[in-house]
Symmetry: C2
Subunit: 211 residues, 2 copies
Amino acid sequence: MARTVGSNGARTAEAIRQAGVKLIYRHGYEAMSLRQLAAEVGLQSGSLYKYFDNKQSLLFDIVRDHMEDLQARVDEALAGCTTPTERLRAYVGFHLRYHMTRMAHVFIANMEIRSLEEAHRAEVVAMRRRYEGLLEEILRAGVAEGVFKVTEPRVSTYAIISMLTGICMWYRPEGRLSQDELVIIYTDLVTGGVAAGVLPTAAAPRQLKRA
Amino acid sequence: MARTVGSNGARTAEAIRQAGVKLIYRHGYEAMSLRQLAAEVGLQSGSLYKYFDNKQSLLFDIVRDHMEDLQARVDEALAGCTTPTERLRAYVGFHLRYHMTRMAHVFIANMEIRSLEEAHRAEVVAMRRRYEGLLEEILRAGVAEGVFKVTEPRVSTYAIISMLTGICMWYRPEGRLSQDELVIIYTDLVTGGVAAGVLPTAAAPRQLKRA
């Protein structure tokens, strides 16, 4: 994205990126105008093009940066965790803490996928698959070891990710419960949900009948 | 919303509402223009005002209708279910099926809360609290009866609702798994997650240390 070399240019590019996150979070990508963006960082609209090609490339830049950061940090969080249960706990705790601190980026990365051009979207979707695939592998490993009971690891992965990411919809740093307490509550829900030998085996037919 | 009496007027108002759902789902509320909306239903922009006051009242109308429908149907789904476990299964199954069939409405009701004016937003938030409060009551009843282990029913309610609603992000009617099969998978995750006596009591301190 940054076309201007040098520390001033890099600082301005970063300021534009941060203003973009703020404006897209507040108004949506399509509704954000370059005029608004320029005003937010104190530039003329025309000057923005020194720093990025167009609005689409700014969105892609924001989302790709976010996904790269997410992947690097989850790899760190899982390093040293060996059993499926340990890895599941580490993944859940990491995902929650990360999402509680980067709510605007997360909202954009989830909600503005629709606004990315096809090639950009494909790249972001592939990055997301890799990140979510880690959780799916953890679930599969737990099933193989007999500690998890998960009949469709990919579906359960989507379900768990949605549950965890949803914390962005209501979490406020000044709230009653600490991040640590919230991590425990969610971790218990997830580990209980996938634990082997918990559910009556008759659950499925009964559920089908009621449907 | 509908100002024009008579069946033609009602049909046009409904067509505008449906076109609004489609355009807001695709482009976002702020980005949707009244010109686009009028073109979608084959009217002149000025004619839209025969049917609704402005863009904001259309959004509010769409979201309020959705919330009213959701509440009426969950009440139906829970009628006759008495134990907390039965009620939890009924709520989960209902929420999933409803959300798998009204994905655009759900997306708008969740994502465009930010675009509602303060008074409208307050009304929608109150409706949502009532709907989600039902699940919270079910969890509290299960805790009181000793069948669920949930230390923070409100947090678990948010977590479960996010998990279930997230199905809108990936569900496709032509997919490999049926709605019935998906309901079973999610129900097992939820009921396992809140089941009493599943988790080691030492889970919390261990989790805190790792954090």
